[in-house]
């Protein structure tokens, strides 16, 4: 594993303003993610885990502090730049699979790359087929999400998160909707991709058994990092 940090935030703050009321959700967050690191983000509901993942994934902008990834100041970057950066360097896995219902498994895996390029290419198709093969769903490539089980859909979602060979994959409760067997399969996939490609994973979860499979723990409480 490399010791180079690919992502770092310092004194990161996030607040939401509702009328006259300002709610501080994240306070003075300092953390860095190393290349190839497998990290779990723990904390009770309302501790700010999802908000932190949204900020690190450039889906949401921090209210203060610094936010850099691969040398790019993402806090100051324009929306268009952040969108482009996200499509190239960050993958997502959500608690719900969020596959597009009108596309096949293969097309869903290709979607992030095709959306960025504006077209599907044979290289994307091959890469998507390889990823589906890696998650054990090569025989389901032409199935639409509605015709697959919950575990299969989430495995497609994991494959989708890796189509652009991102340096970092953010997984928000990726096994939260799955039974134990499916959850173990998904975690096994994540660990194997982490080992094979040195892709960094930051996984948010409540599940201690999932957390136990990660090399590093970050714990949040009331918007603060209490253990890193």
């Amino acid at each position: 594993m490399s010791t180079e940090p690919i992502l770092s935030v310092k004194n990161l703050v996030k607040s939401f303003v509702n009328g006259q009321t300002e709610t501080l959700v994240l306070r003075d967050i300092d953390l860095s993610i190393m290349a190839g690191e497998m990290t779990v983000l723990l904390g009770p509901s309302g501790s700010g885990k999802s908000t932190l993942l949204n900020i690190l994934g450039t889906l949401m902008r921090a209210s203060g502090g610094t936010h850099e990834m691969l040398g790019v100041n993402l806090l100051a970057a324009s929306d268009a730049r952040r969108t482009e950066f996200r499509s190239r360097h960050i993958g997502f896995v959500f608690q719900f699979h969020h596959l597009l219902p009108d596309l096949s498994a293969l097309e869903n895996v290709m979607m992030p790359a095709a959306s960025a390029a504006g077209r599907e290419t044979s290289a994307m198709r091959k890469r998507a087929a390889d990823l589906l093969d890696a998650v054990g769903l090569s025989d389901r490539r032409d199935y639409r999400p509605g015709a697959m089980s919950g575990g299969q859909r989430q495995r497609v979602a994991v494959a989708r998160s890796l189509i652009n060979d991102p340096e970092l994959v953010l997984a928000d409760e990726p096994t939260g909707n799955l039974d134990r067997e499916s959850a173990n399969q998904v975690m096994e996939l994540i660990r194997s991709f982490n080992r094979a490609n040195a892709t960094s994973f930051l996984i948010s979860t409540h599940d201690e058994s999932i957390a136990a499979q990660c090399a590093r723990r970050i714990e949040l409480l009331d918007g603060r990092v209490v253990r890193s």
Binding site: A80, T83, E84, F92, H98, D102, S115, A116, G118
Partner: protein, 401 residues
Amino acid sequence: MAPYAAKLAIRHLGSHPGQTALLITGVALGVGVFIFMSALIGGLATLLTQRTVGSIPHVVLEMPDRDPSLLLSRPTAQVVIQKDLSRRDQITVWQPLVSVAEATPGVTAVSPQIRGAAYLERGQAFAPVGIIGVQPGKLSAIANIEAAIVDGSSNLPADGILIGSTLAQDLGLRVGQVVRLISERDRARSFRIGGIFTLGIASADRQTVYMNFPTARALFDLPTGISRIEIKVTPVTDAADIAARLHRSTGLKATPWTEENGQLFEGLDAQARTGLIIKAFSLVTIVVGIASAMLLSIMRRQSEIGIMRAMGARKNLVVTVFVLEGTLIGLVGAIVGASGAWIALAPFPPVSEIASGALPIDREQGEYLLAASLTTLAAALASIIPALRAARIDPVEAIGS
């Protein structure tokens, strides 16, 4: 951007065939209304124009009016030369003018005529009539008298006349009977009724009498000149321009048919405006329908849009997908509607052949291409605002919902 956006748009429409078919049907109905109204309003205008101008001259050449001319004008008195009533209004050297008229572009028929008023007598019955003396072969140059003959024949020997059916009915006249005509020049002569015609124009059927040129000359004591030159043109809408050209080239007063039929034009204009309003409403219906459907679709697909944006899809891609969806619905609906209207209007006969009381629908005036183009454009425009709204969806909120 476009190939992938097109794929997503087509895939979505294809994945929801019921909803897509419903939208396309709605657009097709709007297009159908547009085309039906165009065909009806156009057909009605054609019918009225044909009925009005079919049997009348499109341009009439006559001697210019000899109005009183002003010699002197003072605050207290004006000196004028009175209108010259010592000479008859006639075109004396008319053959070269007929040649000039025949050579004028747009002119399809030229008929020099001798006209005058007369009384028709049969026993104790009599009626005022208008006489038209026509050259051989020119009987049907202006009104198709030969086709309008309902009894007898259209031949015009020196002692023969043709009369309208209403006149014949009023005086109880039949073909072969002899009547007496007394002209405004106080010349009287007997004629045999050779044929009876029905033009469908009340004044002509009640008052017009046709006879040949030499007979009319004798009856009206007009040895050389003629009364007027009647002209047919095509298209009839160019009559005013052609009249102006004929006035310049002949020096005669040239009156186009449009000058005498202003009310018809007002009626046609009002009809056309009504048609435009109905067509505009059908377009508005299409716009509102598509915009509503797109907005509903966007609300239902918020999380899909959010996930695409989260995965790095640019706003342009989202906008393009939704505009393409709307445009495709409009395009397919326009093609289906235009094709359906073309087929549905097929049983309607051409306006020139319709029976009395039937709808005068002219399938050729359906404005199919215009309807299809405007509908597709309207559908694309209707999609823009929903598409922009889709592109503004916050991925975090959409995924969370």
